[in-house]
Chain length 327, copies 2
Amino acid sequence: MPTIKDVAKLAGVSIATVSNTLNGGRYVSPPLRSAVLSAVRSLGYVPNGVARSLRRRHTQTLGFLVPDITNPFFSGLVKAVERAARKQGYQVLLSSSEENPELEFDLTLALASRQVDGLIAVPTGDSTEYLEHLGLPVVLLDRIGRSESLDRIGVNNAQAAQTGTEYLLAQGHRRILLLVSTLELANIRERVEGYRRALEAAHLPYHPEWVVACGREANSVEAAITAIQTHRPTALFAATNRLSLIAVRAIRHLRLAFPEEISLLGFDDFEWSTLLEPYLTTVVQPLEAMGSTALELLLARIKDNDHPPQTLLLPCELAVRQSVARA
Amino acid sequence: MPTIKDVAKLAGVSIATVSNTLNGGRYVSPPLRSAVLSAVRSLGYVPNGVARSLRRRHTQTLGFLVPDITNPFFSGLVKAVERAARKQGYQVLLSSSEENPELEFDLTLALASRQVDGLIAVPTGDSTEYLEHLGLPVVLLDRIGRSESLDRIGVNNAQAAQTGTEYLLAQGHRRILLLVSTLELANIRERVEGYRRALEAAHLPYHPEWVVACGREANSVEAAITAIQTHRPTALFAATNRLSLIAVRAIRHLRLAFPEEISLLGFDDFEWSTLLEPYLTTVVQPLEAMGSTALELLLARIKDNDHPPQTLLLPCELAVRQSVARA
DNA sequence: ATGAAAGCGCTAACAT
DNA sequence: ATGTTAGCGCTTTCAT
C-alpha cells in the first residue's frame, strides 16, 4: 500500500502539500494540486485512516452495541442509526453482544480501544455502571436502565403497554395473559406495570400469575401453553416480537381458533409478521426516531460534554390490524 | 484518557515494561509486573488500539460488507462470521450497503482506509471488479459473481433450485411458477437454470413466462398476483426469503386454499417463517458453514497471499415441512 | 505558497 | 531483566 510519502515523491512535492490538497487544509496552487491528484490516482493511494486518527485524535467513528443483530427490532435500530450517522459524516462500528454480558464488556473495551468518538449502547442487562466510567460519551438506547449520569433514549414502555391493554379491554377482553421474556429487564417490568395500570384503571383485578415468563429462548413455548390451559384467557399480549412467535405456536398447538377464540396483541412491529394471518395488531416502537435521536444526543455530547444528561422517552403507537377480535 | 506514559510514570518503570507486561512480549519480573498492573487499574488505562495498529501494521480487524443487515439471511451470515472471527481473535467491522453500489464503494474504501486486514463481501451487484484491485485480501460470499481472481464461497444455486423443483415435481406439480426478484443477480439466474434443468430432466416444457420477476421491493406483489391469475399454477417456488412473503400475500389476495389449491416452496430458511401456517417448506442454505468457511479462506489469504484463488460451492438442503401439498 | 519537522501512542529493535 | 529510542503514516505548527 502506498503512503503519503510515495505520493509526494511521485508528484515532486512535500507531504504537507499532499495532505493539504487532499484535506483542503490550506491553499495549494493548481499545478501542484493536479500533480498530487494524478499521483494519487496512479498509485491508487488511499489515506491511512489509522495514522490519520492517531494524529487527529478522533476517529469520526461511533460504536453501536446491540444485544442481537438477528432480531429485527435491533437491526431496524441499526439501520436508523447508520443512516443518521452517515449524514453527519460518522461511520459506525457495530458490535453484537449476543445477550452475553461478558462479551458485551469485552466488545465495549474493544470499541473504546479503537478510539470510537462515542458509543450508543443497548445493554444486555440493566448493569450499565461500567459504561458510566468509560471516559467516553455514551448514550443508552432502548434498555436505558436507571443510570442518571448518561444520556438515554427510550420508549414509554409503561404507557405503551397500558395503551395496548386498554385496547384489549375495550374490545371486551377480561382474561388477558401478558407474555414476557424475563422480568430481569426493566423494559419488561415497565410493560408489566403498564398492563397492571390499565387493569386497575378499569377496576379489574391484577393476577400476577397471568404474567407469564417464557424465557429468552425462542423455543420456550411450554410455559405459554400451560398458562393458556390453566387460565383460559381470551387474549394474549406478547411483550416482545419473539413472544408473538411463541404465542402463535402455543395457539396452534392448542388448536384454538385465532382470533375468534383467542386474540393476540404484539409489541414491536416487523416486516415478517405479515406472514401471520390474521395480520398482527401491534404496539409499534418508533425505530427511526429512536435511532436518530440517540445519534443527536451523542453528537451533542461529543461536541460539548458540559451539559446535564438527558432522558428522552418517545411515544409508541398502536397499529390496529386483525389479530384482536371482540371478546 | 491515560496513555502508556502515564502508566509507566505511575508504576515507576519504562514504557517498554508496560507494553511487555500487557502484551507478554518478554519476561517482566513479578514486582514490576504487579506495579504496572495496579497502575493500569488505578488509571483505568485502555491501550490505544489506533496507535497499536499503526505500529503493528495490522489491525486484527476484518471488514464485512453486506447488502442489507435487516434481511435475516444476511444477519444470519453476520452472526456466523462474527462468531468465527472472534474465535480467531479478529474483530469485524460490519457495513451495510443497502443494495446501493455507490454506497458500497464508499464503504469499501472506508474499510480499506481503516486498514482492515481483509474483507468479506456480499456485493450488491455482480460488478466486483474494483474489489479485485483493492490491494487487500478479499473473499466474496454468497454473491460470488464471475471473478476468477478472488476467493469465493457460495452455494450451488442451480443444484439447490433443481432439487427444490424436483421435489415439487415428485409431489405431482406440473404448473410451477418460479418467483424471482431480479435477473440481474447471478445467483437468481442460476436458480432459474436449476429450475429449468429439473423441468428438462422430467421432459417437461420450460416456459419463460413462468419465471416471474417481482422486483427487489418487498411490496411488489402485483406481478405475482397477475402471473398466478394468468398461468394458474399449482405450486409456487419463491427464489428468495422476501419472495416467500410476496407469494403468501398473493395467495391470500386471491383467496386460494393453501396449500390445497396452491403449494409454496421457499428459499432461505428463517426463524420468523414459522409464523406462517402451514409451515414453510424451504431450501435451506448453510449459513453457519458459509460464514466460517469464508473466514477460513480469508485468514488463509491474509497469512499467505501466494496461492491460487479458490471457489467453494456449498450444498443446500431441503427442509420438508407443510407448505407443499400433493397436486 | 510551500517545505521541514514535531509528535499522536504505541511496539520492537537496540542497548546495557 | 529492563531502559532508550526509532519509526509506523499522518496532520499541523513553524519556518521561509
